[in-house]
Amino acid sequence: MNFSCNNKISNNQLSAVIIAAFLGCTAVSAPLGIIETAGGGAYISVFLGGFAASVFFYLLAWLTGKTLTDSYENTVRQNLGKWLGFIVLAVIFVYVSVYGGFQLAITARMVHFTMEKSVSSLFAALLIVFVAFYTALRGRECVGRISETAAVIMLLFIVFIFVISAPSMDLTTLKPTPDEWRGILEGAVMSFCSLSVAGYVFIMLPNNQSIKRTAFSVFLAFLVITVVLSFGTALAVSCFGVEESKRKLWPVIQMMNYTEFPGSLVERQEVLMSGFYVFSSFILTALSVHITSEILESIFKRINRVFSVLTACAVLLFFCLTALSQGGFDAVYGIYGFNAAMYGVMLLAPAVSLIRRKR
């Protein structure tokens, strides 16, 4: 019928996927390094970097959408030729697997440390991949729909937390001192990089709708993430202070502990609240698996769906285990450089196709 079974998602669902998948992981990992460099003005960094990334995404989505004729994978292969197309897809494949795997590792650790000590990180990762396998197997629409439901719940939750904890903000800590501006700009670059998940978004682009509207959905989604993140960072810094925030592994999540709900039914809300982060991680993992499996299917035609999803899961799990075995997460944060570099790769296909058209 008209809107199901076509392996396409609507513009709103695209926004929802982006918000649901990336709000959690960026909220957990991004502010940490940024607070370290930018200090009390970290929220300004987050906003500047995030806004820049949103604008960048708008342009890229518009450009890519303009050149789409078929699904993204097929367009790339048509435009870039067999081999170059293959390389670009392979790079995206590796990128998505690595990014998804590393984020999964971070989640798995968080589950082990803050949520459930008796669940080991390895096991948490396995369980999440299992769920992602189920979701990805059901296809793109399933990912889109569950994101749409989850994104609304997550945003409601977050707005609720913000509204409640805003009165307890200590605004004096938020005023940046003049010598911090350099750090703030550096932080903005970091935040730009950490939010640049270009490898993910374009594969999900629907190709039959108005390009501007789609690009705007992408822009809007990243803007929402940016605003939430910078507000969250500001809250975390003002509640904990800069030094303590640095020492916290997940400042935004732990900040929830600090908020006092009026007449709260549950103590230690942050553990319950971190459920939203786990949800986000489920969606990110499912999205990663889905994207990599689709790339596999477009490269090796006639591949069994179960087999391709399974392979995607295995690759993702491999990178996740690599990150877990490292102990620290310094290497994980190294991926943000890689993030920005992906812009280049993603630009290749639309650029070539535009050049060809002009001729």
């Binding site: 459930e116 189920y134 889109g144 729909r145 439901t149 459920g275």
Partner: protein
């Protein structure tokens, strides 16, 4: 197989085929010397019709030697008759309660409609009870059910497509829809889906429902069963398709989304404020009935620090002498509750309410006294049970009951993480479901297709005047169902 010209041959063949069926009546008689042969099944025909409309007319008034065609037109005073030429049609008709009349030297048989099945009149609704609103319900008689719907939709666009399903049962199926509102592909899809079935019998609409569901392995019902004619009619008005199955007091409505299982007929008959409140309450109850036992295990066993101190201490001291782990405790109470529910269904109704109360109180308090379960678990089990009764659709409640156990086990294994994982799994499963082209979670996802108007009838039930558009099920050009003049609105 074609009928013979010779009556004897026909008689012999039919008697052989129906040999051993003692409920079939064969009657031979003459009309002015022309031999006739009458066949009908005892007790499912209306005897007076046969006597007054057929036998009297032919035996008394028959003056000439009529053949079958003439008899049909001149002698038989029954409204619905037709001529057939094959044995199969004759036998089918007889088994359905019609009467077949064969005439000497004629290879046509007259099928006379004499259906007069035993039926129990129009009953009151049993499972979907409302305080305010019509009380009538469907019966086992398929034709009566179509009448009940037709009475509510006096529109020429209401189409009834009849056919039979089941190789042996030959159950009458009627597919009802509004021609200009329901999507054509939906109607064709449903009909072809039912026609493609190659099964022995269709005993009930629940039987058919499971056979035409797309994802039969899911515990969640993807089609809606209702016993209320008003509900069926309103569904048809919305552009959905009703499938009436003979011998079943439940009508299938296609498609069905999760949202629909939270709607009760009453929602539209009473004021919108209270009904919006009830809707919210129902969604809340659904969440609670599924998650409460799992959450209890996850919190008490793995994260007691999340429970307020005094409550945690109460739970702990209540469980001090309980010999079982929390999971066993929960399972004991849940099983006891399920048993009570199952046993309550079998008991004669005057006893069952007393039994429910006695069983609940005795088992609950005795189990706590005996130290088998803690007092909090009794509350948890009872609360989750009560919540499940707050939902209007029994099939959906059954699905939730199954899902509840998944959550209980995963929470018991992996604590709060298991709880979140299981909740996500359920959500993922729900979002992968579709019911005849409509996402199961509609309008909570994909709502943009219909400009989010369907939210007006989901968590809230906005005033009827605001629900001017038909839901997603209707054809694209048929979205408006209410029109008000501007003046009337302004005059308020």
């Amino acid at each position: 197989m074609e009928l013979y010209k010779e009556l004897n041959k026909n008689k012999e063949y039919i008697k052989n085929t129906l040999y051993g069926s003692d409920d079939i009546v064969f009657k031979e008689f003459e009309n002015n010397g022309t031999k006739c042969f009458l066949i009908y099944a005892d007790n499912i025909v209306r005897g007076t019709t046969i006597e007054d409309g057929i036998l009297t007319n032919i035996m008394v008034r028959g003056e000439k030697n009529f053949d079958a065609f003439q008899m049909q037109n001149n002698l038989i005073s029954v409204g619905e008759t037709k001529l057939v030429q094959s044995f199969e049609e004759v036998l089918d008709a007889v088994l359905l309660g019609d009467t077949a009349l064969l005439v000497e030297n004629d290879n046509n048989a007259i099928i006379i409609s004499t259906k007069g099945w035993p039926s129990r009149g129009i009953p009151e609704a049993k499972t979907e009870i409302v305080v305010q609103g019509p009380k009538d319900a469907f019966t086992e008689l398929g034709s009566m059910n179509t009448v009940l719907i037709r009475r509510r939709i006096r529109d020429t666009a209401l189409k009834v497509r009849r056919f039979k399903c089941g190789r042996r049962s030959k159950t009458d199926i009627a597919v009802m829809y509004l021609k200009d509102v329901a999507k054509d592909e939906l109607v064709e899809n449903v009909i072809s889906q039912i026609k493609s079935l190659n099964v022995d019998c269709i005993l009930d609409s629940g039987y058919l429902e499971q056979l035409i569901e797309k994802r039969y392995s899911s515990p969640f019902p993807q089609l809606q069963l209702t016993e209320r004619p008003d509900k069926a009619a309103s569904a048809i008005y919305e552009g959905r398709v009703a499938v009436v199955v003979d011998n079943s007091p439940f009508v299938i409505l296609v498609p069905a989304t999760l949202n629909i299982f939270f709607q009760s007929a009453e929602d539209y008959y009473e004021r919108w404020e209270i009904m919006s409140f009830m809707r919210i309450l129902r969604f809340f109850a659904a969440v609670l009935s599924v998650t409460l036992p799992g959450l209890y295990i996850a919190l008490t066993v793995y994260r007691p620090d999340l429970i307020p101190t005094s409550l945690a201490l109460k739970i702990a001291s209540g469980r001090a002498y309980v010999p079982f782990p929390a999971i066993a405790e929960v399972l004991i109470m849940e099983t006891a509750f399920e048993l009570l529910r199952e046993a309550g269904v079998r008991l004669p109704s005057p006893v069952s309410s007393a039994f429910g109360i006695v069983g609940g109180i005795v088992i609950g308090s005795a189990a706590v006294e005996a130290g088998i379960v803690g007092p909090v678990v009794v509350i948890i089990a009872a609360l989750s049970g009560i919540c499940s009764f707050a939902l209007p659709n029994p099939a959906f409640v059954s699905a939730l009951r199954i899902v509840k156990y998944l959550i209980i086990f995963m929470s018991a294994f992996w604590g709060l993480f298991g709880f979140y994982t299981s909740v996500f799994l359920v959500l993922a499963h729900l979002s992968s479901l579709e019911s005849y082209g409509v996402p199961y979670l509609y309008p909570f996802c994909g709502g943009s297709v219909n400009n989010y108007t369907d939210f007006k009838d989901s968590i809230l039930r906005v005033p009827l005047r605001k629900m001017r558009k038909r839901p997603i099920f209707a054809k694209a050009g048929q979205k408006i169902r209410m029109l008000f003049k501007k003046k009337e609105e302004g005059g308020k």
